[in-house]
Symmetry: C3
Subunit: 430 residues, 3 copies
């Protein structure tokens, strides 16, 4: 995952443009079934319209002495995202309103965009800004902001049911690590793992979109279908550093996505930060809006806006690590496993059944088999048509993916009857 | 308010009689629209009947040496409320059962009444009681207890809706400050403020009644109407000293009145005492009884029965203060503002709307505007037809009267649709 | 109770056999109306069948020197329950797999059974086991395991209503105190107390059964009737030692049985351990299974599996004490009193009624009468058809059996109307 992030790092992505296309092209190498879609500028999407497409080839500032002091080719954060083209010579005082830096983090180049108001600008370290002497500065941004299209990609991995698990991540930031590339690379690994599963109960719909406008575009095209089909969804963002695990709920909480995310983090991470929906800031703002109300929760490592390197050049390839990405992937995978494992049962016999005559007791008696018998008895005791396996697992403080095979064995012996679950009846694909 | 309390202080009020009429006459000067009602003695009201009317002109005890040692004209607490007339000479031993004092508060004259059992008596300080020497005491109470009527007053301030906010206070104690005059003077100030409001959504019904029997009489005449119309109510009592803020809920809690009272106290007072309905003791006993079940909560300062001066001569004009009355008035006003501000909305666009194109973002970016944008986004995010503004305000820990103008702006731009609220549909007056 | 336990102690009970019959015979002397039932081996009961009947006459081990070193007649725990007959001479190595001891409790004889897998064995102290020298051991178990029947007993004490309180205890362990005899002797005392009550609202159904298979048998015969009639039930087990009080809820908690048990323990014991349904281990496993779902909770002293003497020879007549049994009986009795006392009322007057004119105020005013008036006013204030007396009692932190006479007096004066309660309408016997 870190190697893929390294390959994607230099590309200058934005909410539209060739950087997104190039990124998706590389990801299609990993996921050949990935399909790309283009939505023309000007297309209405709910209260919004698709903006013009932005492409940038170069951008720099030449000092009064002719030296290149700020260079897009060295770091694509140096040009304000969606900058209009400029080619001019300005005094330092004229230039200054177009320069962005962070006085509190003098060595970091900030990440700045201006999608919906036309302007141009450069970002640089505050340390460098302070060295600029009066004189004539040549500024050049070779960019186009013109009708084109917004690009996104989708991958559908079919399962036994038409009902879906929805996974969304974004590809719209230039060279950044945790708050950009961790999302698509972990999502790619998840998709590969899902494709290799011998059996998938749910269909998986994975989208890679530009943040905010991309999810709005996607919802404007597919909301009805998503509302019918999605049983749980995850927004994959900021999932690559080593410092923390965190969870951000859906708007009201308590959906299958929330329960699976919490269950996964409890068993994977132990300790993690629980944010509230008031702390939101990514595409759950659209997915969980009152008009959409999809069950989309977030499992993250250090959450956007909560770590010092966020939205600066310090959020680079050294901030995300193989173990950071790996841990994030595992947590997300376990949330998916929890969704797959969950089901609601009803016991078929009044009173406890006779497990012995069916050979359901482990023959060897160890601490571990004692736990298994305890789990078996409790799965039966709560098989009342209202507690699902996740509820029983949380009560017993065991992973639901360990309960599922026990429930399956009991089902096979006719002691449990699987019910249409609370997310709507089992809908079979095709 | 303190000046008005000072003017009303000397009047000898009781649950009936001329003291009440004189008090309401003075209040009508402040609130010309106040209407007075007389309910004849013997009128049935639910399980009760209106008692005979009591009027007192004088009352005193002459010591064996002829000196006036206890004098109604010096302090009307000296005569037990509803005392039957007496004119007799008694030995100290014969007199003693008719004398009431407080051994634990030897300098305070207690407040004693006997509404429903005929008796006569005098109240005096325990210090004085202990000085009484054997001898012949002349006692005289010049009072009448005879068919008459019970007096109460009502003021209706019309609003845009027929639905009402109900405000009740009592006028039935003689010279007492916190547990009598703070109620009518703060209620009078509230009524004046309400009358001056440019716009009132709700109609306000303000009643000034004798405690207990007065609220029973009032309910026996108007219960059906109140049940149809009242969205929130407040019982105004003990709201004039400087020492505390407190809240007493409705019987089950959670009504709009409870929520508004708690919201107001959280934002006005910060720290306050939360009583339970088991601590009740004023007219909420009637308003919140299972058969009435009106949403009437109490915002108080030092609650009846919880401060040492309660029901004694020490609950005087020095106990209530301009700042005590002023703070109580402000808290009550804010509860009313919360009721007025509250409304339920539904967002009209799926996903977040484009605020920029409507100029809804503040142009200047400060900490305060950041808070405002955050509030705006959250009002939209919870505009789901189930969260009302009070719920959003409590979640954000901001006053609901600050959210209301934001919601109004969003409504004006067509981004929010106002719903018939949970207190029953918008009922328009006329 | 302790004397009765002493009489029953030596009998070798098991889940079937003459030990159970002999035990029930002695209990019938205390409760002449107790009826005994025999269910033939092989009878199907839900997922189970009634096992063969086991009877044992003798069992011992003779040491190589001919001395009797393990003797059923000295302590019936020495033979594994349901041992098949054996008469053989074995070397120590051949014997060893048939010997059971507790290395951690070297002075205790463990209690071991093998109901559903045919085997034979002896239990002895670990101290003794370690003294055994190589040589030829004569082992003899004179037992029969053959078609017969399972025995249980039932006592129905009629009440005013057909609806029932169900009380279950077990008679299936050999010589053990807390985890066997405390149950039947406390249940017997409860039945005697119930029979002597001048008035019983509910019918009482008391069953004495072998644990697990007995409750399954009983439910397989009576489940429909129990589901219709039982308003609350108690499983009586481990209720005789002096060390603790504890409570184990029904599967979901919150039933009348749970509320009554908690209420009784709060007012009787103050401090007690609250187990969860995950800690279950007695017949509530059957009564509360999803297919039965009867409201059966447990009031215990030291809970099975939670005290060191559990399932060993140390759980003897010295572990249970007269005060231990007496306290357990009182707690259980109070739970029954709570069930009997509970009822739901509606106030008949809007507002508070006039209690004075009905003479309902105590004439003497003391702290105790103040409490009584407070209770009376609160019973009226919550007589709203949704709070039952238990709810009001819990709110006031007073015993519900103290509120019931107050409610009865108010009902007699026409101020309260008794409602069909939440356990289903009042069903009259006959």
């Amino acid at each position: 995952m870190h190697a893929l992030a390294t390959e994607l790092f230099p590309i200058c992505r934005s909410i539209t443009g060739n950087g997104v296309r190039q990124t998706l092209e590389i990801l299609r190498r990993e996921l050949p079934a990935l399909k790309t879609f283009e939505v023309p500028s000007g297309t209405p999407c709910f209260d919004w319209v698709v903006p013009p497409e932005w492409n940038i080839r170069d951008g720099y500032i030449l000092a009064p002495d002719g030296g290149k002091i700020v260079d897009f080719k060295a770091n694509n954060l140096h040009v304000v995202g969606y900058s209009t083209p400029i080619d001019a010579t300005l005094s330092l005082d004229e230039l200054r309103p177009h320069l962005y830096s962070l006085p509190e983090q003098p060595d970091a180049v900030p990440y700045v965009t201006s999608y919906y108001k036309e302007r141009w600008g450069f970002c640089l370290t505050h340390a460098q800004l302070e060295t600029l002497a009066p004189g004539d500065y040549r500024v050049k941004i070779d960019a186009t902001l013109a009708p084109g299209s917004l690009t996104y990609a989708e991958l559908v991995i079919p399962g036994e049911e038409e009902r879906e698990v929805f996974v969304s991540t974004y590809v719209c930031h230039p060279s950044m690590g945790n708050n950009e590339l961790s999302g698509p690379v972990v999502t790619t690994a998840l998709a590969q793992w899902l494709q290799d599963l011998p059996r998938r109960r749910y269909t998986y719909r994975i989208v890679l979109i530009p943040e905010t406008i991309g999810s709005i575009v996607y919802l404007s095209r597919h909301l009805d279908m998503l509302k019918r089909r999605v049983v749980a969804g995850f927004n994959v963002t900021c999932i690559g550093d080593d410092r923390a695990y965190s969870y951000l709920p859906t708007r009201l909480g308590g959906t299958l996505a929330d329960r699976a995310a919490l269950h996964a983090l409890r068993h994977h991470a132990g300790d993690f930060t629980r944010y509230t929906y008031l702390d939101r800031g990514s595409d759950e703002r659209q997915y969980c809006s009152p008009g959409a109300d999809l069950p989309v929760a977030s499992i993250m490592r250090s959450k956007y806006a909560m770590y010092p390197e966020y939205h600066t050049s310090k959020d680079d390839l050294s901030l995300i690590t193989p173990s950071g990405l790996g841990g994030g992937f595992e947590a997300l995978k376990k949330a998916v496993m929890a969704v797959e494992a969950n089901a609601t049962f009803r016991a078929t016999t009044p009173c406890e059944p006779n497990l012995g005559k069916r050979g359901l007791y482990p023959t060897l008696s160890t601490k571990d088999t004692a736990r298994q018998v305890r789990s078996m008895m409790n799965v039966l005791a709560y098989a009342d048509g209202t507690h699902d396996l996740l509820a029983v697992a949380d009560m017993l403080e065991v992973p639901v993916w360990d309960l599922a095979p026990i429930a399956a064995a009991l089902e096979q012996h006719g002691l449990l009857q699987r019910l249409e679950d609370r997310n709507g009846g089992p809908v079979h694909a095709g």
